[in-house]
């Protein structure tokens, strides 16, 4: 029985907006509409979907950047050896939470403070949590720079972000994120703004670090090919709901939900001799079905740890 690091149950995040200038009516945008998943220790989950499907909102709710509307988020507490909710954490628990959860952002140009040099950027988490003595902290910074491939470290410590390339900046982000040895890192499309030839090296770096430091990732991306490379399991999101979730290879070989099939079949294949057959669906119909599903129909287990949402999907084929 795998030990879970994170359990999410029926997470919901709604945004209230007013409908117009003179209208009193407020409309609700259900960005995340009741999703559930688990991530065991040492495994990574990919969250895949198109823009606006709610994956970034989920990430932000998990990191307590934005407050969720309802639902449960439970983390494994190493002290009590129990799954505990992250609601109403006291100060000490919050500190421990903040030490163990980190996030890597998509934009290498905006995720580092342009006025700080690299050394201070990477030192910051250690300073906030008061870990070790000053010289120990500085040593740790040098070590992590070597680990992420920014060598020799002395060349990078006094530099400012605008002097580094996109790939180097993401490495700094990774260094800063992992210097605390967190258990869980949310990655929000960290390679989508990088050059193609650099992506693999960054992804390999993250995979190696995951193995060495026993970190689990929630990897958010719209690119299924990248999710395949990085994750054990993949969850497919559409309009705030998870429509299918399974182990990576299982999902790709045996997709059940029509949306998953459409998604997989839309991806261009780097082989000119491959005849790609697109599995087209009626999106308006799918939209209808999903938005009418206010009771969270739930997922059915079709074996092999493969779950599919149980909407009536005949109308969209």
């Amino acid at each position: 029985m795998k030990k879970n690091l994170i359990e999410v149950k029926n997470l919901e995040k709604y945004f209230e907006t007013s409908a117009g200038l003179f209208s009193r009516k407020k409309s609700t945008i259900k960005a995340v509409d009741g999703i559930s998943f688990e991530i065991p220790f040492g495994e990574s989950l990919g969250l895949v979907g198109q823009s606006g499907c709610g994956k970034t909102t989920t990430a932000r709710a998990l990191c307590l950047l934005d407050e969720k509307t309802s639902g449960e988020i439970n983390f494994y507490n190493t002290d009590t050896k129990n799954m505990e909710s992250i609601d109403n954490l006291n100060e000490e628990e919050m500190k421990s939470f903040r030490r163990n959860i980190q996030m890597i952002f998509q934009d290498p140009y905006e995720s580092l403070n342009p006025r700080w040099n690299i050394k201070d950027i990477i030192l910051e988490p250690l300073n906030i949590h008061n870990i070790g003595s000053l010289s120990e902290r500085e040593d740790a910074v040098v070590e992590i720079l070597k680990t992420v491939g920014l060598t020799p470290p002395e060349n990078y410590l006094p530099r400012y972000p605008h002097e580094l390339s996109g790939g180097q900046r993401q490495r700094v982000s990774i260094a800063r994120t992992l210097i605390m040895k967190p258990k869980f890192v949310v990655c929000d499309e960290p390679t989508s703004m990088l050059d193609v030839s650099i992506r693999i090296s960054i992804m390999d770096l993250m995979l190696n670090l995951a193995k060495d430091l026993e970190v689990s990732y929630l990897y958010i991306t719209h690119d299924l090919a990248v999710a395949r490379y990085m994750c054990n399991r993949i969850a497919v999101m559409f309009n705030g709901k998870i429509v299918e979730i399974a182990e990576t290879e299982e999902l790709l070989k045996n997709p059940i939900h029509p949306y998953t099939k459409r998604l997989i079949s839309s991806i261009p294949v780097p082989d000119p001799t491959y005849e790609r057959v697109v599995y087209d669906i009626d999106f308006t119909e799918l939209d209808n079905i999903i938005s009418k599903d206010t009771e969270n129909i739930g997922m059915v287990d079709i074996g092999n740890e493969h779950f599919v949402a149980t909407h009536d999907v005949k109308g969209i084929l």
Binding site: S197, D204, H222, R228, Y229, D271
Partner: protein
């Protein structure tokens, strides 16, 4: 033997900056046959957008073409006056810019902006004729004709991009350049738009230059292609040949570092280092710092650069061909 719609020979272009001259396009030679799709693949800073801009002579103020020739259907474009160029642009050759969906004027309706382009080339058309033409174009790209009266902010990203393609087709160009037209779009929409492009191309017999950093899209959309690195073409030829038998180390590296959803899961090879900055002067092969098997000649510049033919129509940099 088909005639070529575009012939580019030994094109050299540089930017004049504070730091000195930066060569962006170095000795580029390629041709596009009538009715075919030609792909140009490379990463940021490799010069592909500079090439695109040079083809329509819309380069930045501080960009200068130092030598070379660009022949569109036999007519030389370099050296034409601005007036002569304006009649060629949009009419002979049109371009779908990178990020074009954000290039719509937000306070003018879509239909009006397209009519502006048509009026420029067909001043004698009546308003009704132009609107009919736009309706035709919209049908081709899969847009509802009510879009004509909408403002850009009312459209989704995919719709805006389709409208951009309609705009590019509005003056019956012979050649369309598409510079990363689907980069910012979701993969499902990208798929739909790529289909539209293919459909339109077949319908109108268009020639197409497709520029992208995504080698999978190039594989699906083009019949012939060229790979660019640091301002130069390092390999070119029929798409199928290049994928099955890549000769240049960079091409091979690109192919090996692209993850795919079909087939077995393979361990990909990463490419060390970064694409070079064009400001630094080049000694020898600019790819050698990242090559997995560089020879001494590659690094010191003793090996000869320049494309040689390795098979029918398939060209690659000489030095790479020799070291294999």
């Amino acid at each position: 033997m088909q005639e070529n719609i575009l012939e580019v020979n030994n094109l050299n272009m540089h930017y004049e900056t504070l730091g000195g001259e930066v060569a962006a396009v170095k000795d580029i030679t390629f041709h596009v046959k009538k009715g075919e799709s030609f792909g140009l693949v490379g990463e940021s800073g490799c010069g592909k957008t500079s090439v695109a801009m040079s083809l329509v002579q819309l380069q930045a103020d501080n960009a200068k073409i130092s030598s070379g020739s660009i022949k569109l259907d036999g007519q030389e474009l370099i050296g034409l006056s601005e007036n002569e160029l304006r009649s060629v642009r949009w009419d002979g050759i049109s371009i779908v810019f990178q990020g074009a969906m954000n290039a719509w004027n937000p306070v003018i309706k879509i239909g009006e902006q397209i009519r502006e382009a048509i009026r420029e080339h067909y001043p004698n058309n009546s308003k009704l004729q132009n609107i009919e033409k736009i309706k035709e174009l919209f049908e081709m790209v899969g847009l509802d004709e009510s879009i004509i009266d909408r403002f850009p902010h009312e459209l989704s990203g995919g719709m805006k991009q389709r409208a951009v393609i309609a705009l590019a087709l509005s003056c019956n160009p012979k050649l369309v350049i598409a510079d990363e037209p689907t980069t910012a779009l979701d993969v499902v929409i990208q798929d739909q738009i790529l289909n539209e492009i293919k459909k339109v191309q077949d319908l109108l017999g268009l020639s197409l230059i497709y520029i992208s950093h995504d080698i999978a899209v190039i594989a699906e959309m083009t019949e012939r292609m060229a790979v660019m690195y640091a301002g130069r073409i390092v390999e070119s030829g029929p798409t199928k040949n290049i994928f099955s038998d890549p000769k240049h180390a960079y091409t091979r590296a690109l192919l090996e570092s692209t993850p795919s959803v079909v087939g077995e899961k393979v361990k990909l090879n990463s490419l060390d280092g970064e694409p070079p900055s064009l400001i630094d002067a080049e000694i020898g092969c600019s790819f050698s710092p990242r090559c997995s098997k560089p020879t001494e000649n590659c690094k010191s510049g003793k090996s000869e650069m320049g494309l040689i033919e390795v098979a029918n129509g398939h060209f690659a940099d000489k030095c790479c061909v020799e070291c294999g």
